[in-house]
Symmetry: C2
Subunit: 321 residues, 2 copies
């Protein structure tokens, strides 16, 4: 493709919004737009929203399109180009998203799940840029994980993506929907932290957490971090516990993959600053057998555009194949 | 290389013996020999042993040599082609093994650590053959781990190899030389099992373990498995505990990498048959979020020749570069 004349279009499909952007071959975002996907109005309506969005973005950019990439909330059937998601996109069961866009725009269309697309974006032009191997590590409502090796997404058996957020941490830990107990997600994801906050509020009637309006029922992970910033002892203990679990998760990633970079993202990791000292202290301990200190551990840089940029990169990789 | 006329030479250097073999481009071992390396007589003596061994193997095979590969006990400096191992090869500190062999035989020479070489052999012509991604998982005196992806060894930052044997399993587990505690090696490697056996013998004076000659001081991992085969309750419990830890380690590997195949090897895993039922039961539980049941989990097939075959494969990969 000629970078001056053609653009890549990245499309980021979430449960509520869809965003499209025009991206150069070098990963520069020229312009973008978003819209409500209104999943309850069905896939035909949603597809029209996406087509309109892409047409507007292309018109604004004033360039022709080389390829389209989609990063979508899952589960997906990548081989068939289908979104199969009755949970976050109700009514969108087994919807072929690739064929209509390919036919409408006459260019190749790539499809990746949203976590993989975000990782690809971060590896391309974000905090993972220039590294041969990068792990993108997300802690939010769930715990996500993607390995990018030599610029491409690592895929597992059946070309499915692994679920590194469920590596096992503590044999005494809580049960998880993954089928076992004490996995990382069961200990540090938003809902897990909210449950710890509720228990702590009940056990400590005079504490910061018990005084949060709506406590204990409405306590969220963020309440722990807010309390910790105000110096509350119970919250500081929960933050320390969380940092310890995250550190053990990161050590397992280092021991198994030893990537050149680990990029952190997600709502819980927005409070990484509160946990960083403890986490780096724990990682330093394993320097004795692996060069943990040489692994770049940092926050993501592409932020809200990670998925869109990664979708554009997936489109570019498709052209190179 | 023309397979009919040229052979690859694989060399497997251990602390006691060195073995060399002639291998075809298709991975068939034509002939092999071994010799004592007598590390205490120094690297010059050892190098002569290796050169003689290779010459004999080449003469017997009656073919010319395309390339040599070495799989050696570590640590190594692969970039400089040096063995740096005062522990298992006393006197061999910082010995350039690649240059003398390259000059003597006039062909390219590859150097890999022994675990990586064995994994490469297993992926090439063993139980990992035909899979896009394979993890070789060794439990013996230590716990080892290597990921082969698209036929090549996965390397970490600084091109160093990860230490997957030290993924963290139990925050309450024993301390390990890796700098943390409760890693897989601290719970299931031979010395860890021997320590569990000693404690169990002392706590259960009438048990099978307490009756082993030399118990408790001389108890080894194998005594646990022997007792279990005879139906001893204490040993069966220790086997079940070990199977549980190994299963949690395997689940973390599946969650993080989801390889197409996991190949098992090493002294402790020779008793895999005693643990297989429990391990497969645990793995089945995570089928709910990853296709664990589609991952081929089996014992290694290349056995004692894994290192030699993998060294030959490393030589072949060097030719292809």
């Amino acid at each position: 493709m000629t970078p001056e004349k053609n653009i890549l279009i990245g499309i980021d499909i979430g449960g509520t919004n869809v965003r499209a952007g025009a991206v150069t071959a070098q990963g520069e975002l020229l312009n973008w737009r978003d819209a409500k996907i209104e999943a309850d109005r069905g896939p035909d309506f949603g597809l029209n929203v996406i087509v309109d969005l892409v047409e507007n973005v292309v018109t604004e950019a004033g360039l022709s399109v080389a390829a389209l990439g989609i990063g979508s909330t899952g589960p997906l059937d990548r081989e068939r180009g289908c979104i199969q998601n009755p949970y976050t996109l109700p009514g969108w069961e087994d919807v072929d998203i690739v064929t209509p866009l390919r036919e409408r725009f006459g260019v190749p269309v790539a499809l990746e799940n949203d976590a993989d697309a975000a990782s690809l974006g971060e590896a391309w032009v974000g905090a993972g840029r220039g590294f041969k191997s990068m792990v993108m590590f997300t802690i939010g409502t769930g715990v996500g994980f993607a390995l990018i090796k030599d610029g491409e997404i690592h895929r597992g058996v059946n070309r499915e993506h692994p679920e590194g957020g469920h590596i096992l941490i503590d044999p005494e830990g809580p049960e998880c929907y993954c089928g076992t107990n004490g996995c990382l997600e069961s200990l540090v994801a938003g809902p897990a932290l909210a449950a710890f906050a509720r228990s702590a509020a009940q056990e400590n009637p005079g504490s910061y957490l018990s005084g949060v309006p709506g406590a204990p029922e409405n306590l969220e992970a963020r309440d722990i971090f807010e309390g910790a910033r105000m110096g509350d002892g119970v919250c500081l203990e929960l933050v320390d516990q969380t940092a310890g679990y995250i550190a053990r998760g990161l050590i397992s990633i280092l021991m198994m993959i030893l990537p050149e970079a680990i990029v952190l993202t997600g709502g819980v990791l927005r409070s990484f600053d509160l946990m960083e000292k403890r986490i780096r202290l724990e990682l330093k301990k394993v320097d004795i057998i692996i060069p943990a200190g040489n692994v770049h551990l940092q926050m993501s840089k592409t932020g809200q555009h990670a998925g869109l940029l990664g979708a554009a990169r997936a489109a570019q990789l498709l052209l190179e194949k």
